[in-house]
Amino acid sequence: MNWIDICDITDIPLRGARIVKSSMGCVAVFRTTEDEVFATSDRCPHKGGPLSEGIVHGKSVTCPLHNWVFDLETGAAQGADEGQIATFATQVVDGRVLLDATNIMTALAAE
C-alpha cells in the first residue's frame, strides 16, 4: 500500500466528486451521502466522459455524457451496459482522505 494524503473530506462535496491528476489520466474521488469515499478512474469506458462530473446517488455515479451508471465499490457498469472502471482503495483518517497510489499508474495506463 502506498497511501497518499490527498485532501480533506470536506473538500469533496456531499454526493459529489473531485479529481486527482496523474500523468496517466485522472482519478475521480467520490463522497456519498453516508460520507463514504470511493476512488475510481475518471474516464467512462463508453465514450470517455468525466465520471467526476456525474450525479452521485447511493453508491453509484451516472456518467454525464450518456448516463451509464457505475457501482463505485466494484467499478462495474449497472443495468444493461457492460463495462468496468478501475477502482482504488481509499481511507479516511481524522477527516483526511488517503488514496492508495500503488496501482494507479498501471491501471490508468491500461485504459
Binding site: N2, I12, R18, I19, K21, H57, G58, I104, T106
Partner: protein, 814 residues
Amino acid sequence: MTQKLIIIGAGMAAGRALEHLFEQAPDAYDVTLFNAEPRGTYNRIMLSPVLSGDKSFEDIVTHTAEWYEDNSVTCRFGEKVVNIDRTAKTVTSDTGDMLSYDKLVIATGSNPFIIPLPGHDLEGVIAYRDLEDTNTMIALGDKPDAKAVVIGGGLLGLEAAAGLALRGVDVTVVHIMGHLMERQLDEAAGYLLRKALVDKGITVKCSANSKEILGENGKVKALLLDDGTELPCDLLVMAVGIRPSVALASDAGLATGRGIHVDDQMITSDEDILSLGECVEHNGDIFGLVAPIFDQAKVLAKTLLGEEAAFVNKDVATKLKVTGCDLFSAGDFAEGEGREDIVYRDPARGVYKRLVLENDRIIGAVMYGDTADGNWFFGLIKEREDISEMRDTLIFGPAYQGGDPVDPMAAVAALPADAEICGCNGVCKGQIVEAIGNGATTLEDVKATTKASGSCGTCTGLVEQVLAVTLGDDFVMPAAKSVCGCTDLTHEDVRRLIKSRELKSQPAVWQELGWSTPNGCHVCRPAINYYLLADWPLEYADDPQSRFVNERNHANIQKDGTYSVVPRMWGGITTPDELRAIANAADKYDVPTVKVTGGQRIDLLGVKKEDLPAIWFDLNQAGLVSGHAYSKGLRTVKTCVGTDHCRFGTQDSTGLGIKLEKHLWGSWTPHKLKLGVSGCPRNCAEATCKDIGVICVDSGYEISIAGAAGMEVKETELLCKVATEEEAMEVISAMTQIYRENAKYLDRIFKWVAKVGLDWVKEQIVDDLPNRKALAERFEISQSIYRTDPWAEHATQKAETYQPVANLTLEAAE
C-alpha cells in the same frame, strides 16, 4: 306523457343508477334529483386521497353540471327532502316546495354514528362522511402544532388518521378493540398495520374506552379515557360506524328494520317507491361498500324500465386506501373446528399472508404487505374451488401454480376469464378482455367502457396488467410514465404532492413519497431539485449535486471535456468595450473557436475547466455576466432594432427585449426558455417560434406562446394582446411563473401547453387578473434569490473547486 321520477339523495348509489337508466332509456323519465349536500355526485370513496393531498376535489367529481344538463336532470342540490306523502304521491323539501312523482327513489345513504358521549355536541367534534368533514380536517393541517383524536380504528378512522398525519397533524387513534380493523384483520395483520401507522407518526391506542369529551368555550379540548388518560386535541373525528338513513322512509310509513326494506327488485313496501344504497336492508343485510350498491343500481334501473332483474348480494373484499399499508381481507378467518391455516411471513419485508381452509376449500384470506394475489384468492373463495391439488404452493399465488417461472405478469395471465378484477364495479377479466377486443387500448378506454378501476382505484394496476397481457407489445405500461425507477409516481403526482404536503427538502420527498432508493438517481434528482426550488424559493436551497454537469459548472461541456462560455448580451446589444473584453479573454485562454450564436451573442468554445473561474472573472470585470447558455432557465430574448432605427418599427422592441431579459434572467424553468420581441409584424426577431414571443403593433403588444423551432417546428399561439409595456411585462412574468409552477421537468412550454390546453392558461393569466398579479409576485419572490450572476459567485468564492484536489504527476511513479 313522460313519467316523473324523483330521486332523494345524489350519492354514489343514485349517480350510478342514473347512469344505467340513461344508458338504456334516456327519455323514459323526467328526473328531479334532490341532494342535501350542496353538490352532485362525487366519488365519496376518494375523499381519503383528497384528505391526504393525493387528489383534488375536482378529480373525484363523477357527475358534473354538464352531465346533469346533457341528461336533462333537474338538480335541487343543497335541498333536503323532509316529507313524503305516499297517498298524494308528493315530496316536500326544506324550502317548502312540494313536487309530485310517479316513481320515487330513496337513496339517502347513511348517517355516521356519533357516540352520545358527554360533549359530543361540542364544536370540533366531527364525523368523516362528506366534503365538509374532509375540508375541516384539511384546514386543521394548516394550523401549527395541531392535534387530533380519531375514535375508531376501522377503515374510515384509519384513512382519516393517515390523511391527517400527512397534513402534519399530531394524531392519536383510539380504538376500543384489542387490534385495529378487527372485523377485517386477524391479530397478526392488525399488528403489522399498527406498526406501519406508528411508523407514520400516528399514536395508536387499542383496548381504549372513551369516557367524555372535554371542552372549553364550547370547543373541544381533549378526550378523556376511562383509565383517566386525557388526550388533548383541536379536532375529534368520530368514525365508529354508520347507520342507514331511514327516518324519512319510516315517517312515511314504509317498512323498515335496520334499513329500508327492499325486495330483489329494489322495491320498498310501496310499489311506486324504490330504494338503494346504504339506506336499504335486503334479506337482513345492510351495506357499507360500493360493490353491492353498484349491483343494486343496475337492478333498480331495470326495474324502473319494467325489465326483469334481481339483486343478489355477494361477498366483498376489503382494501384500505392508506399509502404504504397494503392490506386485503376476504371471507371468514376466525379459528374453528376443522379449520386449518396456511401462514406465510416475511418479517424483513413486513409481509404476512394467511389462508383459512375448510374441507379443501379456502374460506378466508388475510394479507398484509403484499396483496397482489388477493383477488385470485378471493375468486377461489367465491367459487368454492377445491384446492387440494395445489395446497403446497397455494400461498405463493397463481404465478407459482403449474410450475411456471415467476413473472409478475404470469399471475394475471393465469387468471380465468371470470376472475374478478374490479371489486367495486364487479368487472371480471373476461369483460376487460372483451373491451380490449372491441378496441380499448388504454386504462381510460377500459374505464369508460366497463367502469373497472373507476371507483376506489386499488385495482388500477391489475387492469393495466390485463391490458399488458392481452395487448402484448401494443400496450405500454403507464408505469413507464413514472419519474424513474425510484418511484411509481408520475412527475405530475410528485409536483402536486410537493405542494400539497409541503415537502421542502429532498429527504422529505424520498421519505414521504416512498422512494425506493436512498437518494434518487440521475433521472429524478434534477427534477426534484427543480420542483423544490420552484415551489419553495425561500426555504429550499438549490443543490448543485443534483444538477447535470452543465448547470453545476455554469458552462456547457463539449465532447472533448472542455467547456463553452457564453456571456450575456442583453437583448443582443453590445459595446466595443465588451467586444474587446471577449477578444482579450479568447486570446488569454487560448480559445480555439469563437462563434456567433443564434441567440444574438458570442460563444467561446474550448475552455478548460480549470480556466473557467479565471475567464469568468475577466469577463465580469468588463461587466459581462453569465448568459446561462447551459441552463434549463432563461436563455435569451432575441430582438430586432425597433423604432430606434427601423422605418417599419412600431414600438421600442429592443428596449422591451432588454427589460425582459433583465427581469427574467437567472430564473430556473422546467426546460430552456427563449423569448423574441419583434418590432413589427415583419417579425425579424422570429418571435413566432419562441417559447414566448412578442410582436409589437401600433396599438400595443401581441403576446403569443408555445412556439418551437427544434426537432419539432411550431408557430406560437396568441395568448393575449395588451396596450402597455408594463402589462406586457406582467403577463410574461406570470406566464413564466405558471410554467415554472406547473410543468413537468424537461417539458418546453409548447409540450406543456399541449397537455393543459391554451384555454386553461388564458383563464389563469389573461382572464383572472388577481391570479396574474399573484403569479407575477411569486415570480418576483423567486427572482429575489436567483436574479444574480453565478459566474461572479463561482469566480470569487468557489474557484478552488474547479482545480484537481491533488496532482500525482509530481509523485514518484511506483
